[in-house]
């Protein structure tokens, strides 16, 4: 990749800007695509050329799996831009990496054979990781791999958006992110060109949230070495003559789990379990579509967070109030066994679990045109409430 970067700089005087949107598969695809399309149209307003594309290998997108969409902008002809940046699976580097759901800062694993990759992997020197989050850049950097060069983490205050599901639940996250982008990287697109494009393609009522995004984004410089040592090892794929002929791969043995694809980077919330109030009914164990629950010797059900995608089915079926509760994934650092912690010190575990539940993350069924949840909106102001 570094060699490619070197070659890239040899290309005449072409300045190519790459942007990626990390999004939750299916749920945020329309959102990501809309952002990238608008960037290309806005670049055109500035007399630049551009195109956009998704990471094709993300298909088939499984619900919530980390996926990517890209926009490429340059001050050159279409022919030259496509020669330099077309025909790619994904860019070698990005100037801005948008993260549409902050839980992805814990790492992204689209396929088992891609490995759990750092969210800032593609961010170039001086580039920006732009995250939609209710947390500060400093809180987020504790999840992100340290880099050898300086870059920035920017936060657009807000909740994870579902304005990209099959029905477009409009919460203005698209234009708010674009406004933030214009602030942190006007070299990709300026606020003025975005304003024109948004008015033209989306409607004048989206100018206010565009400006709001521009004004509310918070940027923090990240020094070399700031962040964590990445705990995951990237898989090394075999050479053509190093694996079985006939496309035969080793399967998971009966009762086992896939060591090579744990899938937990799909998770935005995890079930927190109160073992002390559990009635051992086994509904969580029975209902879990990913078979994440293991019965313990004393008849309780431990959960293996490595394989939990956070679907929430266990919390839904649990008949005891407050015994299985879904909690924001960013409130946790590891995937260790909760049952082991419970056995170690029951009182401390219950206290810890209740504390975690304090600040929960909710997928609101209704959102409004202002990006506020419905119960935050005055009764008379529900004209834009989506369904």
């Amino acid at each position: 990749m570094a060699a490619d970067l070197g070659i890239m700089s040899e290309a005449d005087d072409i300045e190519i800007k790459n942007l990626e949107v990390n999004y939750r598969g299916i749920f945020q695809k329309t959102l990501a695509r809309k952002i990238c399309k608008t960037i290309v149209y806005a670049a055109k307003h500035e007399g630049k050329t551009g195109f956009s594309y998704g990471r094709y290998s993300d298909a088939p997108e499984r619900n919530g799996i980390p996926c990517k969409y890209f926009a490429v902008v340059a001050n050159t002809t279409e022919e030259d831009l496509e020669a330099e940046a077309g025909g790619k699976v994904e860019p070698d580097y990005v100037d801005v990496s948008i993260v549409a759901d902050d839980t992805m800062v814990k790492g992204v694993e689209p396929w088992g054979f891609s490995g759990i990759r750092p969210i800032n992997e593609k961010v170039a020197l001086g580039g920006t990781l732009l995250v939609v989050s209710e947390r500060s850049p400093l809180e987020l950097v504790d999840f992100v791999e340290k880099k050898t060069f300086p870059y920035k983490i920017a936060v657009l205050p807000g909740k994870h958006s579902f304005s990209g599901l099959w029905v477009y639940k409009d919460d203005f996250t698209d234009v708010r992110l674009l406004g933030a982008l214009a602030k942190i990287s006007p070299g990709i697109v300026t606020f003025d060109s975005l304003k024109k494009t948004v008015a033209e393609k989306m409607g004048a009522d989206r100018i206010a949230p565009l400006r709001e995004g521009y004004e509310s984004v918070v940027v923090k410089s990240i020094a070399p070495g700031e962040g964590i040592t990445w705990p995951y090892v990237m898989p090394v794929l075999p050479k053509w003559n190093e694996f079985e002929e006939g496309i035969v791969v080793k399967a998971v043995s009966r009762g086992g789990r896939n060591e090579d694809f744990k899938r937990f980077t799909t998770r935005t919330m995890r079930p927190v379990i109160r073992f002390d109030t559990c009635i051992k009914c086994d509904l969580c164990w029975y209902s879990c579509p990913d078979e994440c629950f293991d019965q313990t010797a004393d008849g309780l059900f431990d959960v293996n967070y490595n394989y939990c995608v956070g679907c929430g089915r266990c919390a839904e079926v649990c008949p005891v109030p407050n015994t299985v509760v879904m909690v924001d994934e960013l409130r946790f650092q590891d995937n260790g066994s909760p049952y082991a912690k419970y056995k170690e010190d029951k009182e401390a575990y219950v206290k810890w679990a209740e504390e975690k539940k304090g600040k929960t993350r909710v997928n609101y069924p209704f959102v409004t045109g202002t990006g506020l949840i419905t119960d935050e909106v005055a009764e008379g102001d529900r004209s834009r409430v989506g369904h």
Binding site: A11, S57, L237
Partner: protein, 406 residues
């Protein structure tokens, strides 16, 4: 077609479209009557785009969801025989599943226009581009054209109806788009007006071959050895008439739409003084331009030949383009297990086309980019360097795999 009317100033609009969405626009503008669909990625994208245009009331067509690709292509074949302009398409093994219908459509000389979103043939499961799927119909009478940009996809789709439905042609035609890199990548595309398209594309007319109660005919009865040779000969001779129709269609396209679409058969890039050439089809040729620019800066005289039409094969054009160079690198985004020199499909076709020349370049072959693997600028440069080396060493039959883990 009659004399082309003087075209008024082009009224076009621009939109950011995927390659598939661009083809869907052409399907709408061509006012297609019957569409049969069955989903398989990456073709699905065009099926979605067309159905959305219909649902949005932009045009009307019978849109039939078949229960599989075989039926899908039977439906459009039959619709075509009663006088409907049709559109269908598929990818990878879906295209293979339709094979029986594909073969008879060509024999029956019905101008079905299809889009193939090139996809790796299962197994293993993969959605990325390989050209093997579309290439399976190369011997059957299907006309085949590879496009490399979304604009070219739209333009070529319009031209395809014009060519396929020409009275002297009447062959089915497949437009091949690289899966992912073109089918799913969004570019600014110029969309012509319906009025312009009407001037370019006459209505579909089958004449005496139209299946209708008032015109009692029977299509494709059992004939045995008494007839087959003559039928094949008739079709073989008809393919020879295609190039002139293609040339005329491109020329008139430029007149009506008032913009250049380039040479129909080959795109030549920096070939004027080239000593070394790289040849390929589809999007990989776009990346090759960046490699060529870098090597030109280093003083290496390299050029690109992107082959667009594949059937009928532009033999003379290829001979003309490549007879002057010292060495040629042919990049195949396909495989042909056990073929001469274990090379790719395009490689062996080009070698055959150049065989009778008195002065032939050294030709090396690179199998690359299979299953959607990216072919980098650096890899293209490497291919050209290896071809230069083959020339120096007089190594004449070299086939190499590029970008494979070894």
């Amino acid at each position: 077609m009659t004399q082309v009317e003087a075209a008024p100033k082009a009224i076009e609009r621009e939109e950011l479209l995927t390659g598939c969405e661009a083809v869907a626009q052409a399907v709408m503008l061509a006012d297609v009557d019957v569409i049969a669909a069955y989903p398989i990625r990456p073709y699905t994208e065009v099926m979605d785009a067309v159905s959305k245009l219909i649902a949005d009331g932009k045009f009307f067509a019978e849109y039939i969801i078949a229960e599989g690709e075989h039926s899908q292509f039977e439906i459009v074949k039959h619709a075509s025989s009663v006088g409907a302009r049709v559109f269908a398409g598929s990818s990878g093994t879906g295209w293979m599943y339709a094979m029986e219908a594909l073969a008879v459509t060509a024999s029956d000389r019905l101008p079905v226009v299809a889009m193939v979103g090139n996809r790796a043939l299962d197994d293993p499961g993969a959605f990325g581009v390989e050209h093997n799927d579309a290439l399976t119909v190369r011997d059957l009478g299907w006309l085949l054209v590879w496009v490399a940009t979304a604009q070219e996809a739209l333009d070529t789709a319009l031209i395809s109806y014009r060519v396929a439905e020409d009275q002297s042609v009447m062959f089915p035609l497949a437009i091949a788009l690289d899966g992912g890199f073109l089918t799913h990548s969004q570019h600014i595309v110029k969309i012509p007006s319906a009025a312009q398209v009407r001037r370019f594309l006459p209505p579909y007319a089958l004449g005496k071959r139209r299946l209708h109660p008032d015109n009692p005919i029977s299509i494709a009865p059992q004939v045995n050895e008494d007839w087959v040779m003559e039928i094949r000969k008739q079709n073989a001779e008809a393919t020879k008439k295609v190039p002139a129709v293609v040339d005329k269609a491109y020329k008139e396209f430029e007149e009506v739409f008032q913009r250049s679409v380039g040479d129909p058969w080959l795109e030549e890039y920096m070939m004027e003084d080239a000593e070394l050439a790289i040849v390929g089809m589809g999007t990989l040729a776009i990346t090759a331009k960046a490699a060529i620019k870098r090597m030109r800066k280093q003083g290496v005289k390299v050029g690109l030949v992107r082959q667009k039409w594949y059937r009928p094969y532009p033999t003379e054009r290829v001979r003309k383009a490549l007879s002057g160079v010292r060495a040629v690198a042919v990049v195949d985004r396909d495989f042909s297990y056990g073929s001469p020199f274990y090379g790719g499909v395009l490689y062996n076709e080009i070698r055959s086309a150049l065989y009778s020349l008195s002065s032939r370049p050294i030709i090396t072959n690179f199998i690359a980019g299979l299953g959607g693997r990216e072919i980098s600028i650096a890899e293209i440069m490497k291919m050209l360097e290896l071809t230069e080396k083959a020339k120096r060493e007089d190594n004449r039959d070299q086939v190499m795999w590029m970008g494979v883990r070894e």
